[in-house]
Amino acid sequence: MPTTEDLPTRTRREGLRVGWLALFAVLSLIPLNVWHHVREPDSPEEVVAAFMEAVRDKDLDEAFGYVDSGIPAGPDADFLHPDAISEWDLLEVYEIAGMKWENLVRVTIGTEDGTASGVFKVYEFEGEYTIADPFQSVSLTATSYLSVQVNDRVVAAEPDSNWINWYSGQVRRTVELLPGVYSFFGGEPVALLGYQEEPIGVVVPPPAPGGDTAVQLQAAVNEYLDACVEYRVEAPTGCPFATDGQVDTSDRVRMDRVEDAAWTIEEYPVATAVPGTGLYEEPVLLVEFTEPGRLTLEGTGTADFDTRETFTAACRFGGGLLHLVTDVDGSLRVAPLGTAVDDTCRGTE
């Protein structure tokens, strides 16, 4: 049956219908919003529980939302990452003391290896509760590694201008972590949670020598020495050989004021890794030479302080200056450690 209603009237009614629908859609946000607020934790216990559950579930955005302080950024946040969070259970959360603006909440977490507890501070402001700086600062001493590994996350140490700068960086490499259970470089797991006044120190031992360590070590040492003899100077920086300017030639003549030095490796030293201590008393693997090898020094010098002549002298490699480091891909490298040797030529047959 054809309608007798005018077209504009019909259009307006349809528009009105759409309008009502839009209004209901918008108004429905209000109860949702109310529900959201109702669900938000409104006690110190609840906020800490929600935070720990979010960390356990690796939902970092949710976890950060309960934190009172700023979140680390850039390299400081390298390990605020799901891969750095291991599996653990949240066992207990309860308030142990409270003041008007600061509350203390004890948390217990556990793995099959055991349980651990810590206390968080919770602040209250205008009915909202937030957790005071829940981050766990760990000062790692990891001078045998060119990377940092926390649980399953490995981050290469940023390249530095020289070995000394790199070494001083790795002696106290501070990493920021969320509360949880952490293993550094595959070591024994430790539980870190609760409000922390000072960073926790963790000394990472060098890796235990594996099956092909000896082969890799010798190759790394040979490569290092090849780079050293490129320098035609009396004491190449960071190298385990040097002359102090006085050498005894193969004809047993003492030559002084050595110039025009040139080094040639005749026989590589036989290298082995032995446990030792680094510059900060931390455990390292030192490179020692069980056979000192042999290298030749050619140059000019004077025996009588009147004439200068060329000479050839036998020299050896000195140990104790180098240590072993493991690169991010697991390969071994040799790095200088400590003071240089003074002279490895005189007294060499």
């Binding site: 939302g65 009172d68 302080s69 400081d76």
Partner: protein, 346 residues
């Protein structure tokens, strides 16, 4: 045809639609604004970054707190020195703290994550307390720095190089230097290189050490410059050629060749015995790979009693340790002496 009156239902319908429209607008508008611009700290940081993108220094500085500013060279805080070659990926509050705003910037495959701190001034305006990144160099080879499109000498106070204050942004570094056309760069953003709390100082020497040492064109240029310098110096006919990295000069004689003192020298002739081979050390100083030496011939009187004229045939080392390498505003490397060259003969 008489006057057409509105039917009663139609009038109510129009009124209801109008009320509905106003009610909807009242509910949706604040929500839309909130979603679009975010909380106040996010709005401030976004506005600051957008001003930087527009190279509008005056507008950017409206969001800057000077309370924590370092004593630094501010001559790079200009539209000419600023970088707009980057995009804002995100600006957000990650935690319940409203004083820390996290930012991610991107630029052609590069990315920087950092954070700004904010605090209120006396008039309750939120201001950024770490708006700049500071670059510090010891001055050696980087006595002149090229950041983005600007190249200038490092300012000094009582001889010490001043830190350079830089707006956040993506900057090519030393693009005029051979080998760095698409090479070194800096994504300057507080927090992206280290702690962000009170402003961040980046060690430019450390940052540039590996790129400069791995730049074969720079090493080649250093050695070419050195060789050309020695060739020029070899034309001198005096014992201590001025401005040269070798010398046979001596305070107590006309010439000393490392063994003997000579007086009344003549026919002096320098030749290059061996050009040195140098490279940059990790600290960006010149280090010797192969030492160079100069041959010196001529005549002179030796001895205090016989005073016999003899031929001089000596070697003098090239004193690389007394040579400073610098990169100029044109991107070319230049070699100069730190100090007067002492006798280098042996």
């Amino acid at each position: 045809m008489g006057i057409v009156k509105w039917a009663r239902p139609r009038r109510w319908s129009i009124l209801a639609e109008a009320v509905l429209l106003v009610a909807t607008a009242l509910v949706v508008w604040p929500l839309a604004v909130q979603v679009e611009e975010g909380p106040e700290p996010v709005r401030v940081v976004t506005a600051y970054l957008e001003a930087l993108r527009d190279k509008d220094v005056e507008r950017a500085e409206e969001y800057v707190s000077e309370d924590y500013a370092f004593d630094a060279d501010r001559s790079w805080l200009t539209p000419e020195a600023m970088s707009a070659d980057w995009e804002i990926e995100s600006v957000e509050l990650k935690s319940a703290s409203e004083t820390t705003v996290h930012v991610t910037l991107t630029s052609a495959g590069h990315r920087a994550d950092g954070a700004f701190n904010l605090e209120s001034d006396d008039e309750d305006n939120l201001l950024i307390t770490n708006p700049y990144v500071y670059l510090q160099t010891q001055g050696g080879i980087l006595s002149t720095v090229e950041i983005g499109e600007r190249s200038a000498e490092i300012a000094r106070v009582e001889g010490y190089p001043q830190a350079v204050a830089l707006y956040p942004g993506f900057y090519p570094l030393f693009a005029s230097v051979a080998g760095f056309e698409d090479g070194a760069s800096l994504f300057a953003l507080p927090g992206s290189h280290g702690p962000y709390y009170y402003g961040e100082t980046i060690d430019l020497d450390r940052l540039m050490s590996i790129p400069l040492r791995e730049n074969a064109a720079v090493e080649a240029a250093l050695n070419e410059q050195f060789a050309a310098w020695l060739d020029e110096c070899a034309e001198s006919a005096v014992a201590a050629p001025e401005g040269c990295p070798f010398s046979a000069g001596y305070d107590y004689a006309a010439l000393h060749d490392g063994m003997e003192d000579y007086e009344e020298v003549s026919d002096l002739d320098w030749t290059v015995g061996a050009y040195p081979v140098v490279r940059l050390s990790p600290e960006l100083r010149l280090e010797v790979v192969e030492p160079g030496w100069m041959g010196l011939s001529g005549k002179g009187i030796v001895g205090y009693e016989d005073r016999e004229e003899v031929a001089i045939d000596s070697r003098c080392g090239v004193d690389v340790g007394n040579v400073s390498a610098t990169i100029g505003t044109d991107g070319a490397v230049a070699l100069t002496l730190f100090d007067e060259t002492w006798n280098s003969c042996y």
